[in-house]
C-alpha cells in the first residue's frame, strides 16, 4: 500500500511517499506563490526519487496553508491534525508537540494514544514564528540556517528590547551598527524567539515528552534557549526530518482512509 502526504506551507512545501508505514522518499522545497504550483513541484519531485508515478499512489492527503488549492489529493486535513499525527509517528512518546512553521506557531498536547487533547496556535503576530527569524537573518545578512550555529558561539547574548518583529529588527540593526559580535546578536534573536514561544507553551501546560517539529526545530539555538526558558528537556526527533511532520501525518491519514477508517 503506497500513500502520499503533501504539506503546502507558507514558506516551504513538503511531500512524503510511504509504503506500509515506512518513508520511501521525501522532499522539502521553497513554496511558489501559487499553492497548486508548489504541490505539483513537490509531488513530482518526490515521485522522481522513487521511480514511481502518480497512478502508483493509492491515496494522497493534503495539508498546510494551501491545502484547499491542491487538485490531485483525495482529501484535505487540517494542519493541527496532521502535525499531531506526524509528530506521533516521529516520536510515539511525545505528549507535547511544539511546531514552529514559517508563519505560525502551534502547541499540541497528545494523550497516550496519540489523540490530540488540546492545542493553541499563534498566527496573528509574526513574533514567535519562523517569519521572525527570517526577518532577522535578512537584517543580519546571514542565511536562516546559520542562526543556530552562530548563536552557539555566543558569549554575551544581547537582549532585544521588544518581542515585536518590527522593533526587534530595528534593535538588531542598531546592534550591528554598534559592531556587536554577530554571534551575540544571533543568540539574542534566538532567545527572543524562544521566550515568545515559551509564553504560548506555558499557557497550555507542559507534559513529557516534549518534542519540536517544523523548520525551526532544526535551529539548535532556539531549541536550547527554549529548554532553558521552560526548564525542560526537548527530546530530539531522530526518526526523520522534523520539518516533514505535517506531510508524514497527511500520509498516515491517507493510510487510515485506505484501511476504511474515517478521518
Amino acid at each position: 500500500m503506497i500513500t502520499a502526504g503533501i504539506d503546502v506551507g507558507s514558506l516551504t512545501s513538503k511531500a512524503v511517499i510511504m509504503k506500509d508505514g515506512k518513508i520511501l522518499s521525501s522532499i522539502i522545497l521553497k513554496s511558489k506563490p501559487r499553492p497548486w504550483e508548489s504541490a505539483d513541484l513537490a509531488i513530482n519531485g518526490v515521485l522522481e526519487k522513487t521511480g514511481l508515478s502518480m497512478k502508483d499512489i493509492n491515496c494522497c492527503v493534503g495539508t498546510g496553508y494551501g491545502r484547499d488549492k491542491i487538485p490531485f489529493i483525495h482529501q484535505a486535513r487540517s494542519e493541527i491534525a496532521c502535525h499531531a499525527k506526524g509528530a506521533r509517528w516521529l516520536m510515539p512518546s511525545a505528549r507535547t508537540v511544539i511546531d514552529i512553521g514559517g508563519q505560525d506557531c502551534k502547541v499540541m498536547k497528545l494523550d497516550e494514544k496519540g489523540e490530540m487533547v488540546k492545542f493553541i496556535t499563534n498566527d496573528k503576530c509574526a513574533s514567535g514564528t519562523g517569519r521572525f527569524l527570517e526577518v532577522m537573518a535578512k537584517a543580519m545578512g546571514v542565511e536562516l540556517s546559520e542562526l543556530g550555529e552562530l548563536s552557539a558561539r555566543s558569549k554575551n547574548p544581547v537582549t532585544l528590547a521588544s518581542a515585536c518583529t518590527v522593533w526587534a529588527q530595528a534593535d538588531v540593526i542598531q546592534h550591528l551598527n554598534e559592531m556587536i559580535p554577530i554571534e551575540d546578536i544571533a543568540a539574542g534573536i534566538n532567545n527572543a524567539m524562544a521566550s515568545r514561544v515559551a509564553t504560548l507553551v506555558s499557557s497550555i501546560g507542559i507534559e513529557k515528552e516534549v518534542c519540536m517539529t517544523g523548520g525551526v526545530a532544526k535551529n539548535s539555538g532556539v531549541v536550547s534557549s527554549l529548554e532553558k526558558t521552560l526548564g525542560i528537556r526537548i527530546k530530539k526527533i531522530r526518526r526523520d526530518d522534523p520539518q516533514l511532520a505535517g506531510a508524514i501525518g497527511a500520509a498516515n491519514y491517507a493510510e487510515t482512509l485506505l484501511n476504511g477508517g474515517k478521518i
Partner: protein
C-alpha cells in the same frame, strides 16, 4: 514671559515657543541618531523663527522619548501629561486624546482642567503606531505624506485581515499582485489601523469630545477612518503634531507662575 517646550520623539523633534501663553513659533524636524544634537538643532530652528536667542527663554520643558538626553532643559515631563495639557489648550472641550506617534499610540482621558484621569499606551507592538504606515508606504512605494490623499481616490472596499505589520505587508504584496488599486489598498489599511487604535482607546472608555493628535492625525484618510471606527465626530486641531511640545511649553509657564502642583 517666554517659555518653550521641546518634544523629542522617535522620528521627529517638535518645539514650541510661547510668549504670554500665545504661540509665537513652532517647528518640526526629523531626528538624527543623537537626541542631544536633535534637541539643539530644533531649539535653534524655533528660536530663529521667533527671532530670539536660547537665553531669552525663561523656562524650557522637555518631553518625548529622548527627553532625558537633553542637557539644557529646566525640567522634563511625561508625554502623557504634556499631551493632556496641550489638548485642553487647543480644544477646551476635549475629554479623550488619541495620540498616534511614530513608534507608539496612547489614549488619554482628561478632565476639564487638562489633568490626566486615565491612560493606556502601546509601544510593544508596531501595529497601530506610525511605524505601520511608514512600512506600508515603503511597501507600496509612495511617500508617507501622500497616503491620506491617495486613500481619498479609493473606489472599492477591500479588507486587510492581518493586524501584524509583518503579515499585513505580505498581504499587501499579494493584493498588488492580484491587480488591486493602490488607493483601495491604502484605504483598507487605514481602516485596519483605525480599528486597532479604536480598540486601544476603548480600553479606557471613550468620552467626547475626542481629539486626535500626533503626526498620523495629519493623514486625512486615517483621521476619517478613526472617526468611522469610533462612530463619533472626531475633533482636529490645526497642528496636531506639536501638541506635546505645546503642552510642555504650557507646563514651563505653570512652573514659573507657581501654578504647578509639582
Amino acid at each position: 514671559m517666554i517659555t518653550a517646550g521641546c518634544d523629542l520623539g522617535s522620528l521627529t523633534a517638535k518645539a514650541v515657543i510661547l510668549k504670554d501663553r500665545e504661540i509665537i513659533a513652532k517647528e518640526i524636524m526629523g531626528v538624527s541618531a543623537r537626541p542631544e544634537q536633535s534637541a539643539l538643532t530644533i531649539m535653534e530652528l524655533v528660536c530663529g523663527a521667533a527671532g530670539i536667542n536660547l537665553e531669552n527663554i525663561d523656562q524650557l520643558v522637555a518631553t518625548g522619548y529622548g527627553r532625558k538626553h537633553i542637557p539644557f532643559v529646566n525640567s522634563v515631563e511625561s508625554e502623557i501629561v504634556c499631551h493632556a495639557r496641550g489638548a485642553i489648550y487647543q480644544a477646551p472641550g476635549t475629554r479623550t486624546v488619541i495620540d498616534i506617534g511614530g513608534q507608539d499610540a496612547k489614549a488619554i482621558k482628561i478632565d476639564d482642567k487638562g489633568e490626566v484621569i486615565r491612560y493606556v499606551y502601546n509601544d510593544k507592538c508596531a501595529s497601530g503606531t506610525g511605524r505601520f504606515l511608514e512600512i506600508i508606504a515603503e511597501a507600496l512605494d509612495v511617500p508617507l505624506e501622500e497616503l491620506g490623499d491617495l486613500s481619498q481616490e479609493s473606489t472599492a472596499t477591500l479588507t486587510i485581515s492581518n493586524q501584524c505589520v509583518v503579515f499585513a505587508e505580505t498581504e499587501i504584496i499579494s493584493l498588488i499582485n492580484e491587480g488591486r488599486e493602490v488607493p483601495d489598498i491604502i484605504s483598507a489599511l487605514h481602516r485596519a489601523f483605525a480599528n486597532r487604535a479604536a480598540s486601544l482607546a476603548r480600553g479606557i472608555g471613550v468620552e467626547e469630545e475626542v481629539l486626535m493628535t500626533g503626526g498620523v492625525a495629519k493623514n486625512q484618510g486615517m483621521f476619517s477612518a478613526l472617526a468611522g471606527a469610533l462612530g463619533i465626530d472626531l475633533k482636529a486641531v490645526s497642528d496636531p503634531q506639536i501638541n506635546g511640545a505645546l503642552g510642555a511649553a504650557l507646563i514651563a509657564e505653570d512652573n514659573l507662575t507657581g501654578k504647578s502642583k509639582r
